[in-house]
Point group: C2
Chain length 98, copies 2
DNA sequence: AAATATACCTAATATTCTTAGGTATCAAAA
DNA sequence: TTTTGATACCTAAGAATATTAGGTATATTT
């Protein structure tokens, strides 16, 4: 979420779920039960700030990264890559011979 | 765990934690609170079977994959790779120009 | 002798996700 | 025109999993 918000500037919750689905060719589904509590937590931690906008009679809540959120994005992305690297080391096939 | 057991043939719990630490250059720590409940669950599901061995006065519980466990290993490895692929698609930097 | 490593384990708590709701507007199909 | 599906927010119960912090005991190293 932080990464998408960093690139897109501002996004609303539903938009984030659609982005995730599109970018992953439908392989990842970010459910609303996972999405909204996380966004609220990010806001409580001061990583994002919100702006409510009315589109017709319907409400949209736009999220944007704070300075703290941009820093968190970088560190979390690096952390995730380290996780992937470590997992690949562990899951790399053990070379039996050669 | 399934992957390590598949390659090593048989392993005991503590050995698995050390393997994970070594393979990942100390970046991943598999704690015992995560390890043992998971091994017990794998056994309950019939993916691994156990054999208790006394080494001096100390007990070791060796785990080996069942046929079902070997199949599960393959599918779980594939599943994890798909997860990584999907995440990389989502986390891939958005090309702004060119 | 004491500290560290080996070797098993559990349990309370915390965290997070899934599932399954609820409310409401808007557009398209039946 | 009604009903379905998409858009758009949300919460809460339950399930799953990890963290933390123990407990027990033997073996080895300092």
């Amino acid at each position: 979420m932080l990464k998408l918000l960093d690139e897109e500037g501002k996004m609303y919750g539903y938009e984030i779920t659609q982005h995730v689905k599109t970018l992953s060719d439908g392989k990842m589904i970010l459910t609303e039960g996972a999405l909204y509590p996380t966004l609220h937590k990010l806001e409580a931690e001061g990583l994002v700030k919100t702006k409510k906008v009315m589109v017709g009679k319907r409400m949209r809540k736009y999220y944007t990264l704070t300075t703290k959120g941009k820093k968190a994005n970088k560190s979390k992305l690096a952390e995730f890559q380290e996780f992937i690297n470590a997992m690949q080391l562990i899951l790399k096939p053990k070379t039996t011979s050669s």
